[in-house]
Each structure stands twice: as structure tokens, then as C-alpha cells.
């Protein structure tokens, strides 16, 4: 079994889904001949034709709205938005239509669609290419929000997203597209869409993160372990709905929690995790719940972006502080 990168795993999942189910359609800018600006759709148009793998005009609102219409007709569209910074024109369709078509029509029309987009900074891309505003999406009832952090989870969660009968925004960790590499068996098996993954068990402190930040979070756990601090690492993976139980029971065990995300702190999804802990595990808490996050400012362009993204050192410091708290 050869190793694949995360973006290759995405490609495998798309190919598998299209093979299995001819109602799956891939659409977006440059997804056809070009195979996508990150090559996530490479080869698909050749395999499945230009009707099922179609290059749309340059219009993100359109892409999301087409998905809603196609889905109402029983297709399973998978739209690609080139960068998360170009997802905002889709918000009207996501909030007002995709997420509530089933509810509005009491189940008569449904909306099985996926909108995929790269998430996060760190690849020295131009302005507006470094967004991580998953919290805005995770607040929308009726939507699912998913973010893998390994080739394996990318493959299996994307398959689950495509097969899910409801709309899913699938956020792909840009920094990991080529950096993460692992064996993935292309066997069509999916993972559940509302389970968090405990990537590493530990007794002293719970580190909760998602997407590309797992890399720094795991590295921090390694450093902490060298200091004798035993960190549990949770990949939340699905943000909407999210797996409260896994987070809460981990914190009940460790008594300490550090939440790590790349997005700006205020109103980030880390707040939700902290809130659920404050609500459900207060009496287990041995230290304040802290958030190690991007700053509350616009993500800077390439020259400063590394200062914006939470570092291993910031995570380690926060976890250490939590363990020393009294």
C-alpha cells in the first residue's frame, strides 16, 4: 500500500465516490482539465467526463447555489472553492438555503452536497488566501462542518461527507496538503461524521485541536512528555455537530484543557469548547481553560504569517501553566 499525501487522499475519495455513485458530480473553478489548483481533482475529468466534472464560471455564490439546485434533484454535488477567502459569497446560500432546505420543506426537498475548501495560512500565499473562519460555519444549524488532519481521515471523512444526506462544508488543511503523508487503503470505508479522535492518550492535560494545528499540537505533546507532562490530544475533526462527550470525558479525566486553533480568538470555535467544559465539567477543572489561537487581527501576509499561527512554544507554555496552576 503506497503512501499518499492528504491532497492525494482527497483525490482518491472523490474518485471512489464518483465510481460508486453516478449521482456524484464535481464542480468548481479549474477542477476539470487543470485538476484543481491544488490537484485535488486531478484526473477526474478524464475518468468521468466533463459533464460530471465541470469547470464553472468564476462565481462562488453560483457554485454553492448550483449545488443546492442539483441536490434538490437528487444529485450529490461536490463543489470546490479555491480558497476559504472566496467562500464568503457562498454564505447566503449556505445559511438561507443549503442548511434549511430540508427543514423548510419538512423533508420534501433535501440538500446532500459538499463544499470543499482549503483552510488556513502558512503556505506564503497572497492576501485573502489564509482564512480560518470555521467558527462562522459551525454556528449554522442544519449544516455539518468537517476538518480532517491526516490523509486517512481526509479520505474517510470526505467519503462520509459525500454520502451524508445533508450539506457539509469540508475544510481541508492547506499546510498539510502535501506535508502529511501516510498509507491509506482505498477501500471505500467511511468514518462517522460526529466523532472526535483521541490521537494520543494522556492523564495530565487535554489538548483539543483540529485541522492543520494538530501538527503543532502533537509536537507540543511530545515536548511536554519530555518534561513529564502527559498530554491527551484530541482531533475534534467534526465541528458541527461536534463530539461533546469525548471532550468532556477527557477533561473530566485530566482536569485541564488547552484548546488550540488557528482562527482569531474572539468568537472562535475554541470558545464553544471552553463553554461546554465550563458548563459540564466545572467541578473537574483543576485549572482555567485556556485557548491558544491566532490573534484577533487580520491574518498577515507571508512575511509575518508564521508569527500569527500558534507556535509549539505557545501551546507548550499554556499547557505547562495549566499543569502548574493552583
Amino acid at each position: 500500500m503506497p503512501e499518499v499525501t492528504l491532497v492525494e487522499a482527497i483525490n482518491l475519495a472523490l474518485g471512489r465516490a464518483m465510481e460508486d455513485d453516478e449521482s456524484v458530480v464535481v464542480l468548481g473553478e479549474d477542477v476539470g482539465v487543470d485538476g484543481g489548483v491544488f490537484r485535488a481533482t486531478a484526473g477526474l475529468q478524464k475518468r468521468f467526463g466533463s459533464e460530471r466534472v465541470l469547470d464553472t464560471p468564476l462565481a462562488e455564490l453560483l457554485i454553492s447555489g448550483l449545488c443546492v439546485g442539483m441536490a434538490a434533484q437528487g444529485l450529490r454535488p461536490v463543489g470546490e472553492i479555491q480558497f476559504m477567502g472566496f467562500l464568503y459569497p457562498c454564505f447566503d446560500q449556505l445559511v438561507n438555503h443549503a442548511s434549511r432546505m430540508r427543514n423548510r420543506t419538512q423533508g420534501r426537498l433535501t440538500c446532500s452536497m459538499v463544499l470543499r475548501t482549503p483552510h488556513g495560512a502558512g503556505i506564503r500565499a497572497p492576501e485573502h488566501h489564509s482564512e480560518s473562519t470555521e467558527a462562522m460555519l459551525a454556528h449554522i444549524p442544519g449544516l455539518r462542518v468537517v476538518m480532517p488532519s491526516s490523509p486517512e481521515r481526509a479520505y474517510r471523512l470526505l467519503l462520509a461527507a459525500i454520502r451524508d444526506p445533508d450539506p457539509v462544508v469540508f475544510l481541508e488543511p492547506t499546510r498539510m496538503y502535501r506535508a502529511a503523508k501516510a498509507e491509506v487503503e482505498d477501500n471505500g470505508e467511511a468514518l462517522p461524521l460526529d466523532h472526535a479522535f483521541v490521537l494520543r492518550e494522556g492523564r495530565d492535560v487535554t489538548l483539543v485541536s483540529w485541522g492543520a494545528m494538530l501538527k503543532e499540537t502533537i509536537a507540543a505533546a511530545d515536548e511536554l512528555s519530555a518534561e513529564g507532562i502527559d498530554a491527551e490530544v484530541i482531533d475534534l475533526a467534526t465541528l458541527k455537530p461536534y463530539d461533546e462527550a469525548t471532550v468532556v470525558s477527557s477533561v473530566q479525566k485530566t482536569g485541564r484543557c488547552v484548546i488550540v486553533h488557528e482562527a482569531a480568538r474572539t468568537g472562535g470555535f475554541g470558545a464553544e469548547i471552553a463553554a461546554i467544559i465550563a458548563e459540564r465539567s466545572l467541578s473537574s477543572l483543576l485549572a482555567p481553560v485556556t485557548r491558544v489561537t491566532g490573534y484577533d487581527t487580520v491574518v498577515p501576509m507571508a512575511r509575518l504569517e508564521q508569527h500569527y499561527i500558534p507556535s509549539v512554544a505557545r501551546i507548550v507554555t499554556a499547557a505547562r501553566k495549566a499543569c502548574q496552576f493552583s
Binding site: 453560483l62 448550483l66 434538490a72 444529485l75 427543514n103 423548510r104 420543506t105 420534501r108 460526529d194
Partner: protein
């Protein structure tokens, strides 16, 4: 007539476009030009007439229900009945309608029940779970946002080689929205089986057409998307039906999308929440009553001795009866249980929200 611009400097012309206007039945009930074949079918004309009259009676009832607190905000079709009825009359059951909030006439024609429409405007989602064609869309409230859906639906038809057509209806105001343009542009690229219908009733709430766009017609907006736009007398149900027939047939034949501008006038308030006298004169409204689509067709029938006063009274009585019966069924319908607000959120309610549903059901306490 729009002038041709930029003919200066003798530069060569590389593209030319024309916008046509379609009308048959003039406002006095006389005929402007040879009518299309279907218009010689008296039964069809009568059924169009009956549908328009039903709609007008129904609107009146709905407004009364709203005024007495038994219905929410409601948008009447007064003066515009020929548009939605004419368009729907050209569609097949298997086609898909994507209507705006003012297209009751089209829904009724396609089999949605009066009480279902009341239920929706009464604030109950079950109104969208209607008896009309199962793939038809619910009323769209965010103006113009259903246009991309229409393109998506039409794309599915084309992909599956199904001879079906999507019909998307919206107002003059909606033609200012980027989503409508994006959808039309995409439809133009793929020659999709979709018909876009702009009901140009001259007003978007208080905003008159001249502040909505600088274009001489709405029909010409299709030129930007590479297909044909036609202007139609929207108060002439024969013209509306004929234009829709032509457009739907072309779309079904693989000839690509069409755009229809139906020129009409909103004789009533925008909705029951609006007071149109704040922004337009009674005189202006009065003047447009002369164009009334129902009156002119009645005159035509009467002139042809196809219709009597007794027929009219009978029709009114029928409408009344149907509407009253539907209203009773509507009013008798108990509201949903509060916790059902979770029942169609996802196909299967995620565990995370089950507790909230439970709390709402008063059975527990999340």
C-alpha cells in the same frame, strides 16, 4: 425605443441585438395581432380566466385573514394574475417551478392546495410540504437567491438527458441581484433547459424601476448572458402563455435558456405590511387599472359571446366556496408540536441536539 449607442468614429459593428415585444390581447379586449394556435381553444382560455379569478378572490380572503390576525404578512398578485398563471400553464407536471413569494398563481395552477398556501403564510413550514409537483421549490423569500438553484436543477436535467425544464420566477427588483446574473450566465454557457421570468411590476416595494436599473428593458439583461430575452405584455394572459410555451419548448428542445420580461403593474400594496400610498399616487394606480388582465379577457369573452353575467356569478360563487372550505381546513389545523422544529433539521438528528429536542418537548431538561 432604445437608441444604438457609440456609433461614433465609424468603428465597425461586431454584434447586433434586438429585443422584441409580444402582445395579442389589448387592454380593451381587442386583438393586436394574430393569436397563436392554442388561443383558439376556448376551454383553455376559460381555464386561464378561472385561475386568475380564483387567485384574485383568494388574495382578497388572505388579506382579510391577515387583517384579523389569522395570517402573517401576505403578498397579493392584484393586477399581475396573468403572469404566474400564464407561465404555469405552459409547464408540464415534471418540470420544476422555482417561484418567488408572489407567485401563488403558478403554485395553484400546479396543484398546490389553497390551504397549503395559507399554511405557509400563516407561519407553518408544512405549507411547503405541499401537494404540488414533488420537485417544485417552495416560495423564495430572499429575493433572487433561487436563480442559481434553477440553473442547478436544469443542469441535472441536462446531465440525465431528461426532457424537463426549470422555470424560475422573480421580480424586477431581483434583476439587480448578482445571483440572478450569475445563474443566467451559467445557463448561457451550458444552454441549459431553464426559463427565467422577471415579473416587471414597476416597483420593488417603494423603489421604482428607474432606480432599479438604467437599462431600457429588463429583457435585454439576457444579452449579457448570451441568450434571448423577450418583453411580453404581462397583463395579457394569452401573450404570457404563448411566450412561456415558446420558451419552455425551446428549452426542452435543447435550444438553451430564455428570459421573459412580463410587463405588468402591482395594483396593490407590496404586502400587507406595506402602505403604497406613501410612495406613489392614487392616480398612477388608477391609470393602471385600465390594463387589468382579468377585465380585458372578460371583455374579450363577452365580445365573443363566450361568457355571460351568470357565468361570472357562478364562477364567483365557486371561488367563494372553494376558498371558504380551504380556509376552514387551514384554521382547523393545529400548530405543530414545538419539538418538531428539530425533526427535519438533519435526516437523523445528531445526538448533540437530541437533548434540546427533549427539553423542548417538556419531557426533560437539557
Amino acid at each position: 425605443m432604445a437608441s444604438q449607442r457609440m456609433a461614433d468614429e465609424g468603428l465597425p459593428v461586431i454584434a447586433r441585438f434586438e429585443v422584441h415585444r409580444r402582445n395579442y390581447l389589448k387592454s380593451d379586449g381587442s386583438i393586436a395581432r394574430p393569436v397563436p394556435a392554442f388561443a383558439s381553444d376556448a376551454n383553455l382560455l376559460l381555464s386561464l380566466y378561472r385561475a386568475m379569478v380564483l387567485l384574485r378572490h383568494f388574495d382578497r380572503k388572505a388579506v382579510a385573514l391577515q387583517h384579523t390576525g389569522r395570517l402573517g404578512t401576505y403578498a397579493v398578485s392584484l393586477g399581475q394574475e396573468a403572469v404566474s398563471v400564464g407561465i404555469a400553464s405552459a409547464m408540464r407536471e415534471e418540470d420544476v417551478l422555482l417561484p418567488s413569494y408572489r407567485d401563488n398563481g403558478a403554485l395553484l395552477w400546479r396543484g398546490v392546495k389553497l390551504e397549503e398556501i395559507l399554511l405557509f403564510w400563516g407561519g407553518d413550514e408544512r405549507g411547503n410540504q405541499f401537494s404540488g409537483p414533488v420537485h417544485d421549490f417552495p416560495f423564495c423569500v430572499p429575493v433572487g437567491s433561487q436563480a442559481p438553484h434553477a440553473a442547478g436543477v436544469a443542469y441535472a436535467f441536462k446531465l440525465r438527458r431528461e426532457p424537463r425544464v426549470a422555470v424560475c420566477m422573480f421580480g424586477d427588483g431581483a434583476t439587480s441581484k448578482g445571483d440572478v446574473y450569475e445563474a443566467m450566465n451559467f445557463a448561457g454557457v451550458h444552454k441549459l433547459p431553464v426559463v427565467f421570468v422577471a415579473t416587471n411590476n414597476q416597483w420593488a416595494i417603494s423603489v421604482p424601476l428607474r432606480l432599479q436599473t438604467g437599462s431600457e428593458t429588463l429583457a435585454q439583461k439576457a444579452i449579457a448572458a448570451g441568450f434571448t430575452g423577450e418583453q411580453v405584455d404581462g397583463n395579457d394572459v394569452v401573450a404570457m402563455s404563448a411566450a412561456a410555451e415558446a420558451a419552455v419548448a425551446a428549452a426542452r428542445d435543447g435550444k438553451g435558456p430564455r428570459f421573459i420580461e412580463a410587463v405588468t403593474y402591482r395594483l396593490g400594496d407590496h404586502t400587507t405590511s406595506d402602505d403604497a400610498s406613501r410612495y406613489r399616487s392614487a392616480d398612477e394606480v388608477q391609470m393602471h387599472w385600465k390594463e387589468d388582465p382579468i377585465g380585458r379577457l372578460r371583455t374579450f369573452f363577452v365580445d365573443k359571446r363566450m361568457w355571460s353575467k351568470a357565468d361570472e356569478e357562478q364562477l364567483a360563487a365557486d371561488c367563494h366556496e372553494r376558498i371558504e372550505a380551504a380556509t376552514e381546513r387551514y384554521l382547523a389545523m393545529a400548530p405543530r408540536q414545538p419539538e418538531t422544529m428539530f425533526d427535519h433539521l438533519y435526516a437523523d438528528l445528531p445526538e448533540a441536539y437530541a437533548a434540546q429536542r427533549h427539553e423542548l418537548a417538556g419531557e426533560g431538561d437539557a
